[in-house]
Amino acid sequence: MADDKDVLRDVWFGRIPTSFTLNQDEVTEREAEPYYLLLPRVSYLTLVTDKVKKHFLKVMRAEDVEEMWFEYEGTPLKWHYPIGVLFDLHASNTVLPWSITVHFKNFPDSDLLHCPSSSVVEAHFMSSIKEADALKHKSQVVNDMQKKDHKQLWMGLQNDKFDQFWAMNRKLMEYPTEEGGFRYIPFRIYQTMSDRPFIQRLFRPVSPEGNVHTLGDLMKEMDPAALPNDGEPKRYQVVIHGIEPLLETPLQWLSEHLSHPDNFLHICESHNPPSPVLSSVYISTPPTTTPPLLLSEDLFIGREG
């Protein structure tokens, strides 16, 4: 199964340096300094920003404070998407640190889900894991787990405990060898230029003829415009965790190694011209057992552990 433990680690410990600035229209008693954090790519904004909230509350009066929310260049940030997805989708060409604006009033009800407590994040996270397992194993693995096992997955994410999380998550990554992969691959494709939040359909890791499906096969099926015709320059980037994996990478391998802790493979398709950072640094390892993976150092800024 998951032999490439280094990849799992690199994905887990991916960080984005971020500066939080209070929205100018907020009423404060004295000037609010920006607050800096290394945000884990695989976590959720509302789960890792307690310190940000505390920081700004120091300069505000309690009656001016409503539910906290975040915005980047006019776009309200959906806390229920993993942080790395938000960055790749909205800010992949930004100069670091990523500059996020913090609001304490005028919560955009029509754009964002309310998140009154971390138990809402937990419910969302577990609901994603269940949905992913419905696709992968007809819910059999997640239903066989006990409540404490579910808790272990959640606590692993909440407390940033890689080993605790993966000790349980590996069960969700198993499949019968003879089938060559999961029943369906849990994935979501986000497009920067689309009104639709994401594309999610049924897609198997192996074709009926027994051929292994690749990332390219998936993109061709879900959004043919994403791939350039022969000789054409690339119009879109297909980005996972801040990197552009080779389109020849088997989808099953990506699902096992580059999925977020919610067990979905979150793929961002952005219009932007390729940035030098993303396209220049490659580590290619193409032996037969391990599919090739492209890594950019950008992905692992602030790497720990």
Binding site: E131, A134, R196, P197
Partner: protein, 315 residues
């Protein structure tokens, strides 16, 4: 595709949908139901309506999970979902009960949509005073009290529960079983969508006051009939939650689909044994809709019978 273009445009849009996917599902379904005099079976939405509390909390559902050999007939694939929607729309048009089809631009997908005004009765008005000023009320306390009150009813007098349900079946009663307290007119918008992950339909909805303020999750819970609320809140996964609408990207309330197959299986197996055709979506809706104030009129059962929906999913 114009969503508001009336029913014939709607049906054409869905037929088109079926065809574009290389599926003749909807046109076939339409033809069948146009020739419906030849089909003799009855669609028994009424039966399901009267049974829904039992179906929802069926004690036999764990036994049922072992009958995996029949499972293939209990799964709704996407093709059949659209076919069921097509039939439901046609019947809704005859009954004039307001369902329409909304196609998503630049996409083959879409959803059934219905809006309705609903008078909701709440024991205490505190939850609703948010309109003007910030509230000092404690919705959770109030809910807890209500739940406690309804515990003896649910445990000691199961008959009472069914009586309540019968009341609800009367078209114009709404949720008036709770008679004390204030009533409030709310605007509800319901969407029925297909979940490919769970192979089931999913009910999304949002609710607002006539002044346009959206209801919070606590307020939605407090508008759920106490009998349903107690059961739902005891389930491991709270069954109503705020989620992103998968096609519109806006916050909607959702009834979680992960248990749908469980409570639909006995319905479908029974129908299968009796060789009764069933419109999966309509039967499912008659089970889950009343929880959030969406009643399915019994008159559906008096209309043309539905074509049988048999699944083709094999694994």
């Amino acid at each position: 595709m114009e969503p508001q273009g009336g029913s014939s445009a709607t049906l054409t849009a869905i037929q088109h949908h079926g065809r574009r996917r290389g599926r003749k599902c909807c046109s076939t379904a339409l033809r069948r139901s146009q020739q419906s005099e030849q089909v003799s079976c009855e669609l028994s939405a009424g039966v399901f309506l009267s049974q829904y509390p039992r179906i929802l909390h069926s004690p036999v559902r764990h036994k049922m999970t072992s009958t995996t050999s029949h499972m293939s007939s209990c799964v709704l694939d996407e093709q059949n979902f659209y076919r069921c929607c097509c039939l439901l729309l046609q019947q809704s048009e005859q009954l004039n009960d307001g369902w329409s089809w909304e196609a998503v631009q630049d996409s083959e997908e879409g959803y059934l949509r219905k809006t309705t005004l609903r008078s909701v009765v709440i024991n205490s008005s505190t939850v609703w005073d948010l309109e003007g000023s910030s509230s000092e009320s404690e919705p959770s306390d109030q809910q807890a009290q209500e739940s406690e009150q309804s515990v003896p009813v649910a445990l000691d007098e199961p008959d009472t529960m069914e009586d309540d349900t019968d009341d609800d079946d009367d078209e114009d009663d709404g949720v008036c079983a709770v008679s004390k307290g204030n009533s409030k007119v709310l605007q509800y918008e319901y969407h029925i969508m297909y979940s490919c992950s769970y192979s089931t339909p999913v009910l999304y909805f949002r609710a607002s006051t006539l002044q346009g303020r959206s209801l919070s999750l606590e307020e939605v819970w407090s508008s759920v009939h106490p009998n349903f609320r107690l059961r739902l809140q005891n389930s491991p996964l709270n069954t109503i939650s705020l989620q992103e609408h998968p096609l519109l990207g806006q916050p909607f309330f959702m009834l979680h689909p992960c248990r749908t197959e469980e409570f639909m299986r006995p319905v479908l197996l029974a129908a299968q044994e009796q060789h009764r055709p069933v419109n999966y979506v309509l039967s499912w809706l008659s089970v889950v809709g009343p929880v959030v104030g969406l009643d399915v009129t019994l008159r559906y059962s008096q209309l043309h019978p539905a074509a049988s929906i048999s699944s083709t999913e094999s694994d």
